[in-house]
């Protein structure tokens, strides 16, 4: 009989599951009049070390805007979280939960916080008319607003990143004409993300005459002795490290083991945080990385956050030593971009929460000029961008930073990516995509009407 009783309990539990499994949906209006800004999180799983400071920065900035500035023109921002553990499937569940708003607050834009989910939402979001906005790491061909009206790979794509790395190496070599014969090895995470730079580097090497060596590292990349022996064997001058997670410290350590100079390794934007260098220990000193999220606390906006959020104990961070770290600042930057998009939209549609169509309009008119960035107090933190309906990236520049052994220091000012060089190739890819999907590219008139 105990079995039956246990079963009954289980059935009761299942009924509870069914009862509560449903989301509160948009009916209950506990957050009516607020702007929904859903936050997809990865506080667990292999990427949690970067997720936690990133989400801390994002939530702290929003808290600052809500509590110190009283919201965006008086409209409070509501940021419910949804944990994905970086899985696409959980991410889609979160997307479905939030796409039409939540607890009375409407959705204007949606940030997937994962390159994989970003790709997975490409079609869905277009059909649902939800603008998907992924700063850093969006899909390069999604810049084409005619084909992808709802995708916004703001700030930097990996193609531009490749050109920025080549530009920096040229600068060190003494000019673009000195690149001929220089050997640049790209050590990439063997995944869609990692393979994304193969094509742009091929184009760049054809143009500048450097030797392009591509070496894959299988996921997760906990052993790289073989790959670094290959690099050594090929006599590479520079290594462009396109790593992810544990692959980064292992790369730096293994480079030291085979005797490759660490200051000739340039990390990707996802290979340039404290968590990538610190576990590698002393041998990481001098390591370089591309950065669109410059670390440090010496920006006006960060000082404000410190004063009103960190010091008052309201921070999302449990460990406030992460304040000002690479990923924390990334979170702040992403928050700034979202809030500025809301501001842009409100300037046209009125001081109220925006819906997804208005969110798209806002993103397509997002214009962060240097003086606006100065007003926010983020000069040096955020690079100027100007999005249009034709160009959904809005500018792509990054700094090169160096690990001093204890912290990251910017080495250069903003370097612009060579987007013109790739424009035709990427445009063609976008048009091919449109053809495959039967999408009619937007015309000038469409854009003017909207």
């Amino acid at each position: 009989m105990t079995k039956i009783r246990w079963s009954a309990a289980a059935v009761a539990a299942l009924t509870l599951v069914l009862g509560f499994g449903t989301p509160p949906a948009s009916a209950a209006g506990a957050h009516e009049g607020e702007q929904l800004y859903p936050v997809l999180t990865y506080r667990t799983g292999p990427y949690a070390p970067s997720g936690i400071p990133f989400l801390g920065g994002l939530q702290d900035y929003v808290r600052y805007v809500n509590e110190v500035q009283g919201g965006v023109n008086g409209v409070k921002i509501y940021t419910p979280e949804c944990e994905t553990a970086y899985s696409i499937e959980r991410g889609i569940e979160c997307y479905e939960r939030f796409k039409h708003g939540y607890e009375g607050a409407p959705t204007a834009i949606f940030q997937p916080h994962s390159s994989g989910l970003d790709a997975a939402l490409l079609d869905k979001a277009r059909e649902d008319h939800v603008p998907v906005f992924g700063p850093g790491g969006g899909q390069a061909h999604a810049f084409e607003g005619r084909v992808f009206p709802y995708s916004f790979p703001l700030v930097l794509d990996y193609w531009s990143e490749a050109s920025i790395v080549v530009k920096y190496i040229a600068e060190r070599a003494g000019g673009l004409d000195k690149l001929k014969g220089v050997k640049i090895a790209t050590l990439y995470h063997d995944s869609g993300y990692g393979r994304d730079t193969i094509e742009p580097l091929k184009i760049l090497s054809e143009k500048y005459g450097f030797v392009d060596i591509q070496i894959p590292v299988p996921h997760p990349g906990e052993q790289q002795q073989t790959q670094w022996q290959q690099i050594k064997q090929a006599n590479a001058d520079w290594v462009f490290l396109r790593g992810w997670g544990v692959m980064n410290p292992v790369a730096i350590k293994t480079a030291a083991r085979v005797g490759f100079p660490v200051d000739h390794i340039i990390g990707d934007i996802w290979s340039g945080s404290e968590d990538d260098t610190r576990p590698a220990g002393g041998v990481a000193k001098g390591y370089l990385a591309v950065s669109v999220f410059p670390p440090g606390t010496n920006y006006k906006i960060l000082q404000e956050i410190k004063k009103y959020v960190i010091d008052t104990g309201k921070s999302d961070l449990k460990d406030t030593s992460k304040f000002g770290s690479v990923y924390y600042n990334f979170g702040v930057i992403e928050g700034i971009l979202a809030v500025e998009a809301f501001r842009t939209g409100q300037a046209k549609f009125g001081h109220r929460p925006l819906n997804t169509e208005e969110g798209r309009w806002a993103l397509e008119h997002l214009d962060l000029a240097p003086d606006r960035i100065e007003q926010i107090g983020a000069t040096g933190l955020v690079s100027p961008i100007k999005v249009t309906w034709l160009d959904h990236v809005g500018g792509s520049s990054a700094k090169i930073q160096q690990w001093t052994g204890t912290e990251w220091k910017p080495l250069t000012d903003w370097i612009d990516g060579d987007r013109a060089l790739f424009h035709d190739v990427l445009e063609q890819k976008a048009l091919d995509y449109a053809k495959e999907k039967g999408i009619a590219p937007r015309t000038n008139e469409d854009a003017l009407i909207n």
């Binding site: 009989m1 079995k3 039956i4 246990w6 079963s7 009954a8 289980a10 059935v11 299942l14 509870l16 599951v17 069914l18 509560f20 499994g21 449903t22 989301p23 949906a25 999180t41 506080r43 667990t44 949690a48 936690i52 989400l55 979280e81 944990e83 553990a85 899985s87 696409i88 499937e89 959980r90 889609i92 569940e93 479905e96 939960r97 039409h100 390159s115 994989g116 790709a119 997975a120 939402l121 490409l122 079609d123 869905k124 059909e127 899909q139 390069a140 061909h141 063997d190 995944s191 869609g192 393979r195 994304d196 299988p218 999302d316 449990k318 890819k429 995509y433 495959e436 999907k437």
Partner: protein, 349 residues
């Protein structure tokens, strides 16, 4: 593991006509559901539950009925997904149902190949060797861009989703596609289980030497089991990619997904077809439920988000362990026990 097929007494409690009526009512309810359920329910709960249940049937046919193990179900799902994608893309004249069937057959062929070691080895060595399929196909679909039509992100998404000119892309359409496919395959599976093949497989599972003695062709039956199981996985994979996620890549079908299918079979009930849907519902709903539970208990005010999410992980793991301990024959057996109880209510059976 083998006693679970004896469900006759419980079912016999209801007269035949009543059972038929119940089936019709249930069928109608399932078909009419899109009219009542909102999009979130369809997209995030019903569709994944049914699709994963179908994948569970695939593995259950192999594991529950034939006693052969596989830790690579997701690999065969990915074969189905990528095959269906390429078929729909490259053979525009092929109607969707046919594309699904051919995709399933391609997965079946792959399953047959990776089932070959089962002729030599058993038990856990066999299980571990099926992991080869898991990693091989994840690699194949990542490294050869042809499979994803040279898409920049190596992702695939349904080029078209229509039957007789009806667009199935809105949620109710996808739901009906999933329900119809699953109902057909469920019926087929029920017949396979009852047929000579099914009896042969169960004989193999219970004692393969004896099965060989009474003249069952052991080798070909084992390979057939792998082929059938992979066919189901393949169709489920295609539905998972196109009717549920909408877009997917090789990593949507990683080892965790294989384990998920395994959980569905063990939690739902080995050698039970309906149990797979119970198991799938458990896997889909438990994380959502735990999130809601934490919200309802007001824990979010006390603890930070990271703490709560890790707590959910711990609870999920514990639930699985407890279920394995308390319900050895899975949720399907639990349902049978309840039915038996109801048949005799208010007296005790």
């Amino acid at each position: 593991m083998s006693s679970t097929t004896l469900s006759a007494p419980a079912t016999a409690a209801l007269p035949r006509t009543a059972r038929r009526a119940l089936a019709v009512v249930l069928g109608l309810a399932v078909l009419l559901l899109p009219a009542f359920a909102d999009e979130y329910w369809l997209n995030s709960i019903l569709i994944p539950t049914i699709v994963m249940g179908l994948a569970g049937i695939g593995l259950n046919l192999l594991m529950g009925y034939a006693g052969l193990v596989s830790l690579g179900s997701a690999a065969f799902m990915s074969i189905g997904a990528f095959s269906a994608y390429n078929l729909l893309l490259r053979t525009p004249w092929l109607p969707l149902p046919l594309a699904l069937i051919v995709a399933g057959l391609i997965a079946a062929v792959a399953g047959l190949l990776f089932g070959l070691p089962s002729l030599r080895i058993k038990g856990f060595y066999l299980a571990a060797s099926t992991l080869g399929a898991q990693f091989f196909f994840e690699w194949l679909f990542t490294n050869f861009a042809w499979f994803s039509n040279h898409s920049l992100t190596l992702t695939i998404s349904a080029p078209r989703l229509e039957i007789f000119g009806i667009d199935l892309r809105p949620a109710p359409g996808r739901y009906l596609l999933v329900v119809a496919t699953t109902a057909l395959l469920y019926w087929l599976a029920a017949n396979i289980v009852r047929s000579r093949i099914g009896r042969d497989l169960m004989a193999l599972r219970d004692m393969d030497k004896a099965a060989a003695v009474i003249g069952i062709p052991v080798a070909s039956r084992k390979l057939l089991a792998y082929a059938i199981s992979s066919f189901y996985a393949g169709v489920a994979g295609a539905l998972f990619a196109f009717a549920y996620l909408g877009t997917s890549d090789a990593h949507s079908f990683d080892l965790d997904k294989s384990f998920e299918v395994l959980f569905i079979v063990l939690i739902g009930g080995s050698a039970s077809l309906f149990g797979n849907f119970l198991g799938a519902a458990f896997i889909v709903l438990t994380p959502i439920f735990l999130t809601r539970l934490v919200e309802l208990l007001g824990l979010s005010a006390v603890f930070d988000n990271g703490f709560l999410i890790n707590l959910e992980h711990v609870l999920f793991g514990l639930t699985i362990v407890v279920l394995l301990i308390r319900e050895p024959d899975g949720l399907a057996q639990m349902l049978r026990a309840i039915r038996a109880r109801w048949a005799a209510w208010p007296l005790r059976a």
